[in-house]
């Protein structure tokens, strides 16, 4: 099958959506499909052979932060050329509602279009204003995929219609077979994520840490991720700061080894998560997981059967749950075992098969993807050049 995938965010900036697209493309190529990914990227960045650059993304303030987006004539022309040259059987657009390549491709294409909605943003003012513009583009999508039941609910509430739920994929064996590292073992808690982003919840964990250390003084906290380390430990009493170890940015291999080594992986995220891929990675590595009870996390953890949940932003609840887990090796082993069985459904073998099933369902009896001539103003008068 010839598959075109549209990535809305810069290929050179690491992020969940980008990694998901990279893994999906590589999985599909391994299965013998022809895959081309259209992504914003600087022209100098080295790209894997299956990625086509859609030009540099422009930083624009959008939705409360600076987003790097693609728009304008040049990007639109590149999208059209890619669609025209690719002769795809199906195109798979990620984040079609973000004002970037996703929306542009939706406008420019006709034929079987599959779209994945990753975020579960509450309805923004901009979205309401843009609704009449978005709707004609979004109604071209033949199949919608949401990454979690939570993301599906937001999608249904905001845009109407329905979607199938296919979770993000993880290479389970990569994590399950990683070698644990000696110095990261023994009464350790793990945290991976941006240190300076409060949404990731490190401040909640820091608030809970004195209580955990009071009960179990041997505990160490290993933190992997970018950000200001001084500022992160500022709230801790000076004598406890040595119990926190910062590892900085870690490679994929070290991340897997870290997850294999720690006794408890803590995910104290306070909101804005639509899936929680890191939990799946931690479960794959066999770590006992302790996470805040966000909707998305509760679903990944099978409502608490595959990992412990604590009340969101409640440092006391986090501390007592962590102490309980650290003191009970049998419970940790049980969670790890149930978790390893549970995450098989997030393995690329399963997720990839589901995504292919969607492709096959929408391409059944449909023509191939083509550039949509109807949207071209000049095309209406027969003036378009090919």
């Amino acid at each position: 099958m010839k598959i075109g995938i549209v990535c809305p965010y810069s290929w050179d900036v690491p992020g969940g959506v980008q990694f998901h697209i990279r893994d999906l493309a590589e999985h599909l190529i391994r299965l013998g499909h022809e895959v081309s990914v259209l992504a914003p990227a600087d022209d100098e960045t080295p790209l894997p052979p299956y990625v086509v650059s859609a030009g540099r993304a422009v930083p624009v303030p959008y939705n409360g932060s600076v987003a790097r987006l693609n728009f304008g004539f040049l990007s639109a022309a590149r999208v059209r050329r890619w669609l025209h040259d690719g002769t795809f059987d199906v195109i798979h657009i990620h984040e079609p509602a973000s004002p970037s390549l996703g929306l542009l491709s939706c406008w420019a294409a006709q034929g079987p279009i599959v779209a994945t909605f990753h975020t579960s943003n509450p309805r923004s003012r901009a979205m309401i204003a843009a609704y009449p513009i978005l709707q004609p583009a979004l109604e071209k999508i033949s199949a919608r995929i949401a990454v979690s039941e939570y993301a599906r609910r937001t999608l249904v509430e905001h845009l109407g219609g329905d979607a199938v739920v296919i979770p993000n994929g993880v290479d389970v064996d990569f994590f399950a077979k990683a070698e644990p590292k000696k110095e990261w073992q023994g009464q350790t808690l793990g945290f991976i994520g941006r240190i300076d982003e409060p949404r990731k919840g490190l401040p909640v964990l820091m608030k809970a840490l004195p209580k955990i250390l009071a009960e179990r003084p041997d505990t160490r906290l290993l933190v992997a991720g970018r950000g200001d380390e001084e500022e992160a430990v500022a709230s801790l009493p000076a004598e406890m700061r040595s119990r926190v170890e910062f590892l900085g940015m870690v490679s994929d291999e070290d991340k897997a080894r870290l997850l294999r080594s720690v006794d408890v992986y803590v995910a104290p995220n306070t909101g804005g998560e639509s899936f929680g891929i890191i939990l799946v990675e931690a479960l794959s590595a066999g770590a006992a997981v302790l996470a805040s009870d966000l909707d998305a996390f509760a679903q990944v953890l099978d409502q608490g059967a595959a990992g412990d949940l604590f009340a969101n932003e409640d440092a006391d609840a986090l501390a007592s749950a962590a102490v309980r887990l650290l003191a009970d090796p049998a419970r940790r082993a049980g969670l790890g075992e149930r978790g390893s069985a549970h995450v098989r459904r997030f393995d690329w073998a399963t997720v990839g098969a589901d995504i292919l099933a969607v492709y096959e369902t929408v391409t059944h009896g449909a023509a191939a993807v083509a550039a949509d001539e109807r949207t071209g103003f000049r095309a209406r008068f027969g003036l378009a050049r090919d």
């Binding site: 109407g160 199938v164 099933a357 369902t361």
Partner: protein, 181 residues
């Protein structure tokens, strides 16, 4: 005078373009419904034939075989207006027979059973998918057809008002164990 005339012409052209664009949108939505409906039909037929194959293969016990055969046969032969009911009954029969993981295991143990179980698992997973895509297309077309412009100017032409396909498509848990789909 000429200025007014020019403005009227511009306005008329703009309205014309808008109407032709809306008609195009509607046409595309109807095409999408047709494609989705064809895909749904294909998946339903596939599910019924795999079920029938299993029922006549002698892998299952006679009672289960008869239940599945009856349901699959009824689903394939159903008239359009009874189709939703017949397909729902097939779903219920499949759930009744494959509710237990041991039943699925016994199918897998038979010669060629692994492939048969896999085929059935795929079929019961794809029916809800295809149905969701179909009903999503129906919803989008209905939203546009309720629009005043579309109703008053009859932009939809003689195309019938699209109907959703409602059925019980819950797959048997032992066959399709995935979260929240």
């Amino acid at each position: 005078m000429t200025v007014t005339l020019i403005w009227i012409v511009v306005a008329l052209v703009a309205i014309g373009l808008y109407l032709s664009w809306t008609a195009g949108r509607l046409d595309r939505l109807h095409a999408r419904i047709d494609a989705a409906r064809a895909a749904l039909d294909a998946q339903l037929l596939r599910r019924a034939s795999v079920t029938q194959e299993l029922a006549t293969s002698g892998v299952l016990d006679p009672a289960a075989s008869i239940v599945l055969y009856e349901a699959a046969h009824a689903a394939r032969q159903a008239e359009e207006e009874h189709r939703e009911v017949a397909e729902s009954e097939l779903s219920q029969a499949l759930r009744a027979v494959f509710g237990e993981p041991t039943q699925v295991d016994s199918v897998r143990e038979a010669p060629g059973g692994v492939e048969a179980a896999e085929e059935l698992a795929q079929a019961v997973r794809r029916v809800p998918m295809a149905r969701r895509f179909h009903n999503d297309a129906v919803r989008a077309a209905r939203a546009l057809r309720r629009h005043r412009t579309v109703r008053w100017l009859r932009l939809a032409g003689h195309a019938p008002f699209p109907l959703a396909f409602e059925m019980d498509d819950e797959p048997p848990t032992a066959l399709a164990d995935r979260p929240g789909t």
